[in-house]
Each structure stands twice: as structure tokens, then as C-alpha cells.
């Protein structure tokens, strides 16, 4: 699936993660930028979690920006899924 709209999910609160998604042209691939308060401790985990959700939702082309304040894995999964669905136009929600 290919994102159509810019979308976001999450907040800048501690223990949450803000996910921003920008659509990219077909076959541009995935571009994932991560900043995190726990980057030294969990960089690989965060990358892995985000990519797993994108794999599951079969999203190939997008630019995803993650600004993490120490979210748990489940939170990251939920925020990424919501942002992707918003960007696909298949989930309503506040922007």
C-alpha cells in the first residue's frame, strides 16, 4: 500500500512517540528517521518495531519521522499503525 496523505499520530509527552508520515513516489522505498531520548539504549529496537509494523501493513514507499520520548514497544506499534492508516485514508482521527 502507498500512503496518500501526510499524517501523524502520537504526542511529544514523555513515554510517547510522535510519528509523522509523508507520502513518497512509488518505488522510492522507505526512509525512516528516528530521534529518541533513549537512542543509545534502544535504537535498534525502535527501528525493528517500526519496520515490523510497516511490513505487516505492507507499506513500501514512505518517509517516516519518529520523535520518541521513551515509548514502550506497544505504544510505538500503535502510533505507527495509526499514522499509516491515516496516511492511507482508511482511518479517521484528529490530526
Amino acid at each position: 500500500m502507498t500512503p496518500k496523505f501526510k499524517a501523524q499520530a502520537g504526542t511529544f509527552e514523555s513515554s510517547d512517540i510522535m510519528i509523522l508520515i509523508e507520502p513518497l513516489e512509488k518505488d522510492s522505498g522507505r526512509k525512516v528517521d528516528i530521534s529518541s531520548t533513549v537512542i543509545l539504549q534502544f535504537e535498534e529496537d525502535i527501528k525493528k518495531t517500526i519496520n515490523q509494523v510497516l511490513d505487516r501493513l505492507q507499506v513500501k514507499d514512505l518517509h517516516l519521522i519518529a520523535k520518541d520520548k521513551g515509548a514502550l514497544t506497544q505504544t510505538i506499534e500503535a502510533r505507527v499503525e495509526t499514522a499509516v492508516k491515516r496516511s492511507l485514508g482508511i482511518q479517521e482521527g484528529t490530526m
Binding site: S14, S15, T37, V38, I39, L40, Q41, F42, E43, E44, D45, K69, G70, A71, L72, T73
Partner: protein, 519 residues
Amino acid sequence: MKNAIGVEIPEYIEGLGKLEPFQGVWKSIIEDEVPSTNISRTLKAKKPHVSKLCKNLEEAIKRCKPFDGMTVTCHHHLRGGDGVLMQAIKILDEMGIKDITLASSSLTSAHDGLVPYVEKGMITRIFTSGIRGALGDAISVGKLKYPAIIHSHGGRVRDFLTGRIKPDLSVLAASAADEEGNATGAHGPSAFGSMGYADIDARYSRNVIIVTDNLVEYPCVPCTVRQHFIDYVVKVDSIGDATKIASGTTRITNSPMDLRIARIAATVIEHSGLFKNGMSFQVGAGGASLAVAKFLREDMKRKNIIGSFMIGGVTSYGVDMLNEGLFHSIFDVQSFDAAVSTSVLNNPNHIEISCDQYANPNNCGSMTNKLDVVVLGALEVDVDFNVNVITGSSGEIRGASGGHSDTASGANLTVVVCPAFRGRLPIVKDRVHTVVTPGESVDVIVTERGVCVNPAKPNLAAKLKEAGVQVVDIRDLKEEVEKMTGVPAEKQLGDQIVGLVEYRDGTIIDVIYNVKNLS
């Protein structure tokens, strides 16, 4: 050589001399006679009616004849608003003085400006109870020539008396002082309350300068610091940023997590067997720790309990409890907000004490040894109940030992409050990165996910279980937390020792290595 908690301690460090390994909480204090270097002040008689007033701090410092390799001390009663320590260092630097040992009772965000002086070797040694901010980062990456020594509040007094710290020049801020150097923090536009730490510097330093923004008619009353210890007095326009020195009152946290932890901690205290008339109590000023006072206050009223004394760093919340008659008295070594200064000044049951009386492990009457209950915070705890309050998640120096280990060792019940994890970082570890307070002196760790009781206190665990407190094995808690957070990557550390944690008895309890990556 390995110390009692298994940390490899170097026997000798260049610039700091021989080190003794930590042997256990009471062993060296009880068994060893501590050689005191019978501190003799230089006798400097003055003729009658000769003024000690200098026209500025520079003149006062010059009159003290500073020299390379000297030890300069300050107090941290001005907290994040301190404007005096930086002035003194700047003047000494302009005079070309170098190789300075800085021994401030603590260092705060107001001292980020020390970094360039550390980098160029003007300051080469630091003894203090806390280091934060940019200075902590600079030391953590190895910019200070010799490792910083982190001592406790009580340990600092001991270090003065044994000659570990030999103060040559003390520059002490006061919110009111007279021309002879009688000084207080209890009144004046920059009032900061107790001068409990400064009292030690005034008594034992070879040269003492009082700096005040509020020169009052002789004699300054009340006076904590007394004139016969003071060499020079300087009137300045400002001793710092008054809004950061003491403002308003300390509020209880709104954080639901901290409040939950505090509620559980108060319940632990209530069922510990110590919750009765005459209970003495100390609580920290931070989040969950201070919030315990809120719940304890309600519980004391509900059960008609009247405590004996509160001690330590004092907030307006403690003053309120004193005024309500919930405690008989407060013994105050350090005040945290403006309302406390007023109480120090006006309430005869609010008594200013020196840090010596507060926590020196080697005198025969430190008040921490009379404590029933203390509630303390933690950056990390471990399965052996050790507590880290000095190094952060990257291994960087960013906290304070303060009175943590002093009170923990003395109190009948030492309660540590902390969340099980903070922003994905697990707080309960196999081993804390840096041990400041040994598990031997910690009884209970309270988290939002259960209460861990030191296995050395089975009776306490039984009492709490009977009262319905959720007591959990600390190893189980650690596993539960790691399942949620994941296991953090190993810290990137070098092999250069950048800090030594001195236990209150002067032995070395842990070693801090340089960090390669700061988050």
C-alpha cells in the same frame, strides 16, 4: 583491590593519593580510630576597630594571598541561583592562579561556566556532593585532570576534619551580614534559610570571606556564621539570581505515577512498626519523595500521631507540618524555599544546624543516627538494593550524593521511592551503574508495581504482607519490567577513571569511568 561490594578500586590515584576500599556500612566507622589532623586555624589577631570590609571581592581575595595548588571552597545554599562561586573563580583565574582544588558542598546548573576553567587546567580537582549539567558532561568525558571525588554531606565534614580536604580559601555568600562577618541566610532580599553547610567552611578554612548583598548594622542577628572565624567582608550588588535562590513554596507533584508511589510508601511507613508518637522523619524535596509527606500528614492526622523531629533539607511542606503540630521541631541544614527562611528566622522550634551535627559519621552525635524513617529518591536501584543517585542512563555524572547514604545508614527504616521504569529505561537493574548508597543500608524499595523488602528484614516483609501491601521479590520485578521495556544496550564506556564515589566514612565505594557517547 576489591571492596566489600565487589568493585575493583585502584590503590592509588595520581593527584589524589592512596585510596581505601569500602568495607561495609559501619565497619571502618566503628572499628577504626579516625586520625583527625587537629586543624589549627592560622591566628590572625586584629587590632580593635580595624575594618574587615573590602571594596570588592577581588581585593578580599588578594588579601588572602591565593597561590597555585590551593583549595577553594563554597557552599551551595544558593542552589541554581548562585552567583558567587563563579565570580570567585573568575577573579582567581584573572590573577593567574592555577591547579585549584574546588571543594564546593555541591555544584548546580549555576556552575556550567566552570567548564572552560576545567578544560584549561585552572581547576584540576573537585570534591563535591553533586555535579550536574554541562560540568557533569565535561567531567564524564574526561576533561578534569584528576577524578572528581563525590562525597556525602556528612562525608564532607569528615573530609575537612581528617585533612582530606584542606580549605585555604572559603568564599561564603550570605543574605545578611555585618562588617565583622556575622552572617545569616535567614533574612534579606536573597534569603535562603539555613547556612548549615557554610558553617563548616567558616570554622575550618584558613581564610574566610563573607560576601553579601545586604550589609546590615552591626551586629547581624541572628548569626549562624560567627565573626571570630571571618577574615574579610565584601558587599556586592548581587549574590545571584534571587528567583532561583529561593522562590515561593515547594509544591507537591501532580504526577499520578509519583502520587501512587508516594501513597504506597506512606502505607509502608504506617505498617512498619515505627508509625507512632515520637517518630522522627526525613523526606527529600523531589517528586515522589516529597509527596510521601502529603500522605503521611493525612495518616498522622487520622491516627493522631505526633512526631518528634524532622531533619535535613527542609521544604515549606515540612514547615506546614511543624506549624500544624504534627512534629515537635525541625532541624534544618538546608532550606529549599522562601517560606522556610521565614520559619528559620521566627520559629524557635525550627533550628538551624551545621552539617557536622546533621550527618558527620565520625562525630559522636550526628542526627541522622536518631532518624526513624527516611524517604529517598533514586536514579537506579538494583537487586542487591544498592542505589545510584549520581550517574545517568549514559553513565554520565548528573546527580548528587547529598545526604542519601548518611540518612540511609542512620535511619531505622530507609525507604527508597522510584518508578519501575522511566521513559522506557528500566530503573531496577542487576547492578546499578554507580553505587552511592549500599544495599546494606536500604530496607524497602517502593515502586508503582510493588514493594521490595530487603531480604535482611524478613520481619518487616511479614508485617507489610499482613497489612495487605503488595510485596514482590525484586528479581521478579526486574524481570517483569524488562519484559515491558526490553533490555537497554550496554553503555559505551572508556577505561579512564573520571570520578570516585567516596562513602561517608572516606572509603571508596565505586568508580566512575569516562563515557564515550552522551545522549
